[in-house]
């Protein structure tokens, strides 16, 4: 394991006036193999940054243990805390933290003090090219745009080839195109060098694209730590189901049919779903079922009809917020050539591949 | 034969340089010198203890000389030369090994007054400074200054505590303004009319009288100088003196230096260079200012008593509000 967290706790001491102590990270455990990229998502203030800082060695642990490449680096029980500068961990901060007194090249070269002058210059150029800024080497940080600063910070963190890379919303100030390109290239670099990375992002697309392992945090806890596909299709908790993608949890009942158990939803029986639980799983079969926006198809011929409450243009498609006759709201992705106005009634049909249910 | 002499001096007179130069020229002994205020010098000496490099200590206040002697910082010196040159009342008490210190010059605490507004007869005793007739006329430097403390200590010796405190109270009541500044400032204040009567050391008066600066002479034209208490116990006199340090590494050089200070040439310097009164009889008569001030009757009082009184005096000052 390149990185192993065991029940780590990060606590901020606070005055009673400010609400007392706060456990920003609670008993989080997870592992990352060499070359793997882990991604953390979660609502604002859920403790992502705090977790990264603990891994970097910038916050002391209040409990648990952190192991980097087999070596224990934080273990408050044993009084162990390897200082940040000895962990060989690279980090890009949410606020970049470029050194204002150094130009871009010197910022990037900062971690390369072991290298010779020529080699260092070469590496700096290499990194700056990687982040698409080969020409700004001589500028000062304050002369750069937000996105450019972020990229310089990334180049600086990558330059010394750390054994673990921590990225805290490192692409947030970049446009989609650049962000995808960078994510790809960083991914390639990490894979080639077998470097593990732990990435925080708010962009779920990016999370899915980048992650070997994806985690969802909430209020300091890691709710699920899984492969992206599984996390999307088999969310472990209601929170994860709700947080990932667009969807609603609709009341449903599991019924036995000759073909096996089926889920009876306000949109009708889910026919071709895998992995349907048995009716006995819930009292009376009553449960909640996850209906994602892309599980619902627009089909004028469908028996179930819904009224359009809101329509959000999203480029390739519209996101419709729909109300069934009984008032239940559902979401649906509809290609953008189906252009219906709010207020209209349209036919919809569920098309759920993976049934995800929770107790009511 | 010692070739150096280490000197701790509280004499703050730049003109003393000449004195030291002459000594070196005469004896070949070079002088290493630190000068500071009396209290600091003694503090340093006390701390250095046996390791002190000091040979000779020069102080400018009798009370301090006495206190240092009490603290055992001095080494008594038997010197026929000094015994002969310096009157006994200006030496430490010989407890068998010789006096612990020797006075080399004196200065009188005189009263200056504004000739235009004050009658000399109204200010010719210290006691009159507290007399209601001089209300609003008196100015002095801080009561806590050693020159004043020494004077008040002597008054205490003469009058006893209650009368002294009453006298101090009277002086405070007569003040034209709160105590501040130095003696020269008081003289100038008298001349300018800010106040009418003040205390000053004699050598400041003499210096201004001899000054080539017309402004100074102008000042002196306006003020009169009295040696107080000529009809009584005499004018208060303070002593500047010296001693051999307890752990002097060069005692022989120290002795020679002290003896040199009592020599006519050194004494003449005190009188002419710094306008002090020489302790050796007959020296300094050629200082025109001192000559003009004329001879006077000095009070005779054991230095030890003044020294012992200063703490008591300070408390009285606190009580009567003499700043």
């Amino acid at each position: 394991m390149a990185l192993l967290l065991e029940h780590i706790v990060v606590r901020y001491r606070g005055s009673a006036a400010a609400g007392g102590d706060l456990d920003a990270v609670r008993e989080v455990s997870m592992g990352l193999a060499a070359g793997e990229i882990g991604v953390l998502v979660g609502p604002s203030g859920c403790g992502k940054t705090s977790l990264l800082r603990a891994v970097a060695g910038l916050e002391p642990l209040a409990g648990g243990r952190i192991r980097l490449a087999g070596e224990t680096v934080s273990d408050p029980a044993a009084g162990l805390h390897r200082p940040a500068e000895q962990r060989r961990v690279g980090m890009v901060f949410q606020d970049y933290a470029l050194f204002p007194h150094l130009d871009v090249a010197a910022n990037v070269a900062f971690g390369l003090h072991a290298l010779g002058r020529a080699e260092r210059a070469k590496r700096v150029q290499e990194m700056l090219s990687l982040v698409g800024l080969p020409e700004v080497a001589g500028k000062m940080p304050h002369q750069l745009s937000g996105g450019q600063q972020q990229r310089v910070a990334l180049a600086r963190a990558l330059a010394p080839a750390p054994r673990l890379l921590l990225l805290d919303e490192a692409f947030s100030a970049l446009d989609v195109e650049l962000r995808e390109r960078l994510a790809h290239e960083v991914r390639a670099i990490l894979k080639a060098s077998g470097t593990a990375a732990l990435v925080v992002t708010h962009d779920q697309m990016e999370a899915f694209a980048l992650a070997d392992r994806l985690g969802v945090m909430q209020a300091g806890r890691l709710e699920q730590w899984d492969r992206p596909y599984d996390l999307y299709h088999r969310p472990a908790t209601r929170f994860v189901a709700d947080f990932i993608g667009h969807g609603v949890l609709a009341p449903a009942r599991i019924v036995g049919t000759p073909q096996g158990p089926r889920v009876d939803t306000p949109l009708g029986l889910l026919a071709d779903a895998d992995e349907c639980p048995l009716p006995e799983a819930y009292p009376g079969g009553e449960c909640l079922v996850l209906l994602r926006a892309d599980d619902i198809e627009h089909d004028d011929a469908a028996p179930v009809r819904a009224r359009i409450l809101r329509r959000d243009f999203r480029g390739a498609e519209f996101l419709y917020t729909l109300a069934l006759a009984d008032g239940l709201e559902v979401l649906a992705h509809v290609p953008s050539h189906h252009d219906h106005a709010p207020g209209e009634w349209i036919g919809i049909r569920p098309r759920v591949e993976h049934v995800v249910t929770f107790p009511r | 034969q010692d070739k150096v002499l280490n000197l701790y001096s509280a004499r703050h007179y730049q003109t003393d340089e000449a004195l030291y130069k002459d000594f070196t020229a005469a004896t070949g002994i070079t002088i290493n010198r630190v000068d500071a205020d009396d209290a600091g010098i003694l503090e340093r000496l006390r701390t250095e203890g046996t390791a002190s490099p000091a040979d000779v200590i020069l102080l400018v206040d009798a009370a301090r000389l006495w206190r240092a002697e009490e603290a055992g910082l001095f080494r008594p010196l038997k010197s026929p030369v000094l015994d002969k040159a310096i009157p006994a009342r200006l030496r430490g008490v010989d407890k068998g090994e010789g006096p612990a210190w020797f006075g080399f010059s004196t200065r009188a605490r005189v009263i200056v007054y504004n000739k235009a507004s004050v009658q000399r007869a109204d200010v010719d005793t210290y006691a009159e400074l507290a007399d209601p007739k001089n209300k609003g006329k008196v100015c002095t430097r801080s009561g806590a200054h050693p020159y004043n403390l020494s004077l008040f200590g002597a008054v205490l010796e003469h009058l006893g505590p209650p009368a002294t405190e009453a006298w101090l109270k009277g002086v405070v009541d007569n003040m034209a303004r709160p105590p501040k500044g130095g003696d020269t400032d008081q003289i100038k204040a008298v001349a300018s009319g800010e106040c009418q009567v003040a205390l000053s050391n004699s050598y400041y008066v003499a210096r201004m009288m001899r000054s080539s600066n017309p402004a100074d002479r102008d000042v002196m034209d306006k003020v009169g100088v009295v040696f107080p208490d000529q009809a009584g116990k005499g004018t208060h006199v303070n002593i500047a003196g010296g001693a051999v340090a307890r752990n002097a590494p060069h005692p022989e050089a120290a002795r020679r230096f002290l003896e040199y200070l009592a020599s006519p040439s050194a004494q003449a310097y005190f009188a002419n260079g710094n306008n002090e009164y020489a302790v050796v009889d007959g020296v300094g008569a050629d200082n025109p200012a001192l000559k003009a001030l004329g001879p006077f009757k000095a009070e005779v009082i054991p230095v030890a008593t003044i020294g012992a009184n200063s703490a008591k005096v300070q408390q009285m000052l606190d009580r009567v509000g003499y700043k």
Partner: protein, 536 residues
């Protein structure tokens, strides 16, 4: 390293501890003395000291803060020149300023005499400057540069985005200055005012000359007149406790802010664009800045020159240049050495505390910071006591002899007293570095030393320069410790000036006083030239 620093701190605290330890010597006689003091003069001492320090603090905050704000936040013709000139009064020792102004303004001085002569007026034309009311502006004039320097540095590095955010929220320049820029500079202002306050409390020269009954005067009376060193030490510890209380209160009030500044990206490399002023604004700016320079430097220097040239005794030897060079060199070497040591110590302490806040080192450093409030002569007592005890205990190791044989003892005393000055300036500088800089450096493999060398030092050079300058001029002006602890034949300008002044030869004392000012100006010039007004 931490241990070494802690050791140094303990060493520097020794004199203060020695002072406090004198409470152990409190006996019946001492108690009686305390009763005497409490029933007579102590309330007066306290009252005058509090009044004086409150007024000086207010004045220093006003003058220092406003001048710093004017030269950093606004652009007007002559701004760079003024921002340099405002440092000049710093080179002027308070007692020299006191002589100069007293001589000019006093009843018997040239001005009043001439006016009386010309118009036939009688009596005092204005209240005596030698009073509490006169001391306040005097202290303000020579101490405001502390606040000015620290605030200027803080404002020059002010956070541009914050000022912009305030503009967009509709705040005009007055609100921006008072509600964003100055509060952000508050740690610096507080540090400057604290320094001025401590210096005021520790002052003896002006207090004695003006006949003030401050706490420090009281300490000296107890020591000199009553010969009671214990009482003096005890009084000094009361002063210490008072200052400690003040410092603690201010730190508590600032705790939140300091932390905030340390976490936020407050330092912005961007160029802070000062607001251009029209001619009317420029005139006001000139007035605000010129008045302290005139009153605190130009006029006093002229007065000194007048004194030196007209008041001198003709038969006294005039200024002897070769001797002046020697005195100046002594002064300079001492001041420079002390400045280097103090800045080095302050930087090391600040770095160590930043890396690991809280703990013993913090407490020790705070204690060392109090040394500045103790009058130099009292520090000397506090320093000589333990030395004397050592001397008595181990005569074969004559520590005191060694210390006074060279400049070691002097430097020690300077550090005890002036470390606080360097620490305030350096700490104020550190408070402006966001923690994420350190964190980035650490994550890039830099240990404490490398981080310091490559991040802290380049960003704190300005603060270190300021610290050095402050210590330098303070040592140039320092008197009591220098007087007592210096080695043989090692006179400094301040010592010589003092000798002449004590001999009431103010005319001649004017020359070395002017020389102090001149030598003190050297680093001011260097600092002013090396960096522009907004540079730092």
């Amino acid at each position: 390293m931490r241990l070494l620093l802690a050791l140094v701190c303990v060493l520097l605290l020794l004199p203060l501890v020695a002072l406090v330890s004198r409470w152990a010597a409190l006996d019946a006689e001492g108690l009686a003395l305390w009763q005497h003091l409490a029933s007579t003069v102590l309330p007066g001492y306290l009252g005058q000291s509090l009044l004086l320090s409150a007024a000086v603090a207010l004045g220093v905050a006003l003058v220092g803060g406003s001048t710093a704000a004017v030269v950093t936040l606004f652009e007007f013709p002559g701004r760079r020149w003024l921002s340099w000139a405002l440092l000049l009064p710093m080179a002027m020792p308070a007692y020299v300023l006191a002589y100069a102004w007293t001589d000019t303004l006093q009843y018997s001085g040239p001005l009043q005499t001439a006016l009386r002569a010309a118009f036939g007026w009688k009596g005092a034309l204005w209240p005596d400057i030698r009073s509490l009311g006169g001391a306040v502006p005097l202290f303000v004039l020579c101490l405001y540069p502390y606040a000015y320097l620290l605030v200027r540095a803080a404002l020059a590095e002010r956070c541009v985005p914050l000022m912009e955010a305030a503009r967009l929220l509709g705040a005009g320049w007055w609100r921006r200055v008072t509600q964003v820029a100055l509060p952000m500079a508050r740690p610096a202002l507080a540090a400057g005012v604290a320094l001025a306050l401590m210096e005021t409390l520790a002052d003896y020269g002006v207090g004695a000359y003006f006949g003030l009954s401050t706490f420090t005067t009281g300490i000296f009376r107890a020591w000199l007149s009553m010969g009671d060193r214990d009482a003096a030490a005890q009084l000094a510890t009361v002063l210490l406790a008072l200052v400690a209380l003040l410092v603690w209160m201010e730190q508590r009030a600032q705790a939140r802010l300091r932390f905030a500044a340390a976490r936020q990206g407050a330092l912005h490399g961007g160029d802070a664009r000062p607001l251009a002023l029209g001619w009317r604004g420029s005139a006001v700016a000139w007035a605000v800045c010129l008045v302290p320079v005139l009153l605190g430097f130009v006029l006093p220097v002229l007065a000194l020159l007048r004194l030196a040239t007209t008041e001198g005794d003709a038969d006294a030897p005039g200024p002897d240049l070769s001797r002046f060079a020697g005195w100046a060199l002594n002064s300079f070497v001492l001041a420079a050495a002390a400045a280097c040591l103090a800045v080095g110590l302050a930087m090391a302490l600040a770095a160590a505390r930043r890396r690991q806040p809280g703990g013993a080192l913090d407490a020790l450093a705070r204690g060392v910071g109090l040394g500045y409030a103790v009058p130099g002569a009292v520090i000397v007592i506090g320093l000589l006591w333990p030395l004397g005890a050592w001397q008595a205990r181990w005569p074969e190791w004559p520590l005191a002899g060694w210390l006074t044989a060279g400049i070691g003892g002097l430097l020690y005393a300077y550090l005890v007293r002036f470390s606080a000055v360097a620490m305030q300036s350096v700490d104020a500088g550190y408070a402006r570095l966001p923690a994420s800089f350190d964190e980035s450096a650490r994550l890039l493999g830099h240990g404490p030393w490398a981080t310091w060398r490559r991040v802290h030092w380049p960003l704190l050079r300005g603060a270190a320069g300021t610290a050095g300058l402050l210590v330098f001029v303070d040592v140039m002006k320092e008197l009591p410790a220098t007087l007592v602890l210096r080695p043989f034949n090692h006179d400094t300008l301040a010592v010589v000036a003092n000798q002449l002044a004590r001999d009431e030869r103010l005319g001649e004392a004017a020359w070395p006083s002017l020389a102090i000012v001149a030598v003190g100006l050297l680093p001011v010039l260097l600092l002013g030239r090396g960096r522009g007004a907004t540079g730092c």
